[in-house]
Amino acid sequence: MHTPLLKTLLTERGSQVFLGVLIVTAILVPLLNLAVPADSALHVSTYTVTLLGKYLCYALLAIAVDLVWGYCGILSLGHTAFFALGGYAMGMYLMRQIGTRGVYGDPVLPDFMVFLNWSELPWYWHGFDMFWFAMLMVVLAPGALAYVFGWFAFRSRVTGVYLSIITQALTFALLLAFFRNEMGFGGNNGLTDFKDLLGFDLQADATRIGLFLATAFALGGGYVACRAIAASRAGRVIRAIRDAEGRARFIGYRVESYKLWLWTFSAVLAGIAGALYVPQVGIINPGEFAPINAIEIVIWVAVGGRGTLYGAVLGALVVNYAKTWFTGAFPEVWLYALGALFVLVTLFLPQGIVGLLARARKTA
């Protein structure tokens, strides 16, 4: 296991570049933020750190989608569900940390519950005051949902667009459910006004840097894990399933279980991305479940280049940076630019940016 993985990581150019840049960024950004004075041209503002942290969360999410889509041909239009569930698990922990500092000063109930006249904490909120439990849930909630969903779907051999559409139905149903105030997740306002994480003030620069590093670490770890899967024997079977599912089945592979485990792992990655995302953006709301966001993730992967993992990372960064820049620079017309980007990439760059870079290298 180890030797082929290490070999892949060290010889594959994309991986080298990606991991290299990730490590350099993870070292440079905190340094430039904390050590360089604010008036220096080299200073990286906290705004930028948070922004980068957010992008890295998206990148992890993109890797999760690329793992199932690029390597196994399962186009998920529902990964936002796992991302948001992970986010909610983290958000619930952060809500419980507020304690008496909420507007109504209730030691146990979050503000929105006091406000809706709830007298006690619903059962599913118990345990979230403990960090380890919340972290367990970050992994378990999306994982279990994905497992149950996948168990049904793959066993029934739901494939292709049908699978895509029911994943969309899944996240849409959750969106509607979480919008309901009766659900006990804060309805449309979601969870917000977080104060601290493990005792660290969320508004402190050091905490932000810590979260940024944690995200970078998770992204690196997630990447290596996905690479490991792809490079393993199971990874080859998974690619075989992508290319000819029927044939793989006839040869005697248990296609369903391969798919199921890959799918569940991908959902867990998405959940972790969501958990890291929430403390950095400061809010989790049912809007994160929106099917339209799920399509956007797929687009990041397509823009970067599917089936390469680092392409997914690149796509997530490019599209989101473009979005940040466009919404600031051309608020009136940015959707034209974004829309055109998607159309042009699919038409002219079927392999995404990674493919373009590879082609450019060949001709050079």
């Binding site: 080298q16 570049v17 350099v24 930028t48 957010k54 809706l116 105030n181 006004d193």
Partner: protein, 430 residues
């Protein structure tokens, strides 16, 4: 090697992001920057684009008057795209990167909740121009729209006293503003002796478009022989199909009047108003009110937007009032520094467009007149009732258990969330 060739691309991109954002921060401060944080795309663009234009108009006007403190004003517009985390990000961008002196923005409660920690952390200044559920008073936010006691309660009083309504349908979109408003109203109605059987509460999701069953239920509820009214906190997009269904099921305003808190001139412009004549809306401003100030404001707006058909509505007036108050406070404080402006603004008064004055209170809310209007066939509203004088905005409702003991006072108590029973100030972020 090829790696060396590739690396500049990727590395350049990443560090480009980092450094590009950082370098913007260094800018000259020879103008006063006014941030505009309204969605220009996505679901909320319908409502918020107009407010962005209103702020631009006010900036333009102020510059024609010579700016403020001898400096020109410069508007910085961003698009948070109806995406709540993006609201927080853009707020941070405006405050940390663009270093704006004041921000006018937000519409939905969730967008305000999303940016609130950012404004408190970076000590920014936000003027929030939309009627909302109350239960909040931040050091860094000035609420120029109505609190529930400036819209909902007077409207219910009117229905009860003038139209002798005995049976109530409280219909709303399922989010915090309707939930709070309906909770306050329910408590208020019960205090006035309305039986629980005579109150029907219904929540629907955002953008609900199939109203057949609900309208049919309302019709049945309203045919029990008692005068019935609908108090609607239905939001935005869902209103058009709701009113269409009302009209088609032939529920007329004389039988079951609907009083809406989120339907104004602008929403009516997207509706065939013929069948809606007589239904009601409660606001603090109506375009049809005949005062010289209002006439001038509308004329300005038409000239600015270059379209005589455009409507003027309540949140726009709230934006105008907020802007004028801020400008006055800056002149009084002789600086745009947030703390000094915040201190200076309390107690300042500017005229409402409909007469009377808007005074900034110590709880960061305004005094406002309340009008009830009936929808006309041309999409305007005729005032049928109004409060005598202005109603002071109450941040914490007196009708809710959790909040009746809480006071907001930024002058003497220096707290937006002071519990008069426990004598404690909680929930503050600094």
């Amino acid at each position: 090697m090829a790696i060396v060739k590739l690396r500049p691309h990727l590395a350049g991109l990443l560090t480009g992001v980092a450094l590009g954002a950082a370098s913007f921060a260094v800018q000259a401060a020879d103008t006063i920057k006014v941030g505009v944080l309204h969605s220009l795309s996505g679901t909320m663009a319908i409502s918020e684009t107009t407010l962005k234009d209103t702020v631009l108009m006010m900036v333009d006007e102020q510059n024609k008057k010579g700016g403020l403190l001898g400096k020109k004003l410069e508007a910085v517009v961003v698009d948070p795209a109806s995406n709540w985390p993006l609201f927080a990000e853009k707020a941070r961008e405006l405050l940390a990167k663009d270093k704006v002196d004041v921000v006018f923005g937000c519409w939905t409660s969730v967008s305000r909740k999303s940016v609130l920690p950012v404004f408190e952390e970076l000590n920014g200044l936000l003027f929030y121009p939309v009627q909302y559920e109350g239960e909040e008073s931040s050091k860094n936010v000035f609420y120029t729209g109505a609190a529930p006691n400036q819209q909902a309660i007077p409207a219910v009083d009117y229905l009860m006293n003038d139209l002798e309504v005995e049976r109530w349908v409280l219909a709303g979109t399922d989010y915090v503003y309707p939930r709070t408003t309906n909770k306050i109203l329910e408590a208020y109605l019960k205090a006035k002796g309305v039986a629980a059987d005579d109150i029907m509460i219904n929540y629907t999701p955002f953008g609900h478009s199939d109203w057949q069953s609900i309208v049919s239920d309302i019709k049945k509820f309203g045919s029990a022989g008692k005068k019935t009214a609908v108090v609607s906190t239905i939001n935005g997009d869902a209103n058009v199909p709701f009113y269409k269904e009302l009209a088609n099921q032939q529920i007329s305003a004389e039988d079951i009047p609907v009083v809406a808190f989120s339907v104004g001139e602008e929403e009516l412009a997207g509706l065939d108003t013929g069948p809606l004549v007589g239904h009601l809306a409660a606001w603090n401003y109506f375009m049809s009110i005949d005062t010289p100030a209002n006439e001038a404001a509308i004329a300005n707006w038409h000239a600015f937007i270059k379209n005589d058909e455009r409507t003027f509505n309540d949140p726009m007036e709230a934006t105008v009032i907020g802007f004028n108050l801020w400008a006055k406070a800056v002149e009084k404080a002789k600086t745009t520094e947030v703390d000094k402006v915040s201190d200076a603004i309390i107690g300042l008064e500017v005229p409402n467009l409909t007469g009377g004055t808007a005074k900034m209170l110590a709880n960061h809310h305004l005094t406002k007149p309340v009008f009830i209007g009936e929808i006309r066939d041309d999409g305007q509203l005729d005032v049928v009732w109004q409060t005598e004088g202005e109603v002071p905005g109450d941040a914490w409702s007196d009708f809710l258990d959790g909040s009746k003991d809480i006071e907001a006072d930024w002058v003497t108590l220096k707290c937006g969330n002071y519990n008069t029973k426990t004598k404690k100030c909680s929930g503050q972020n600094y």
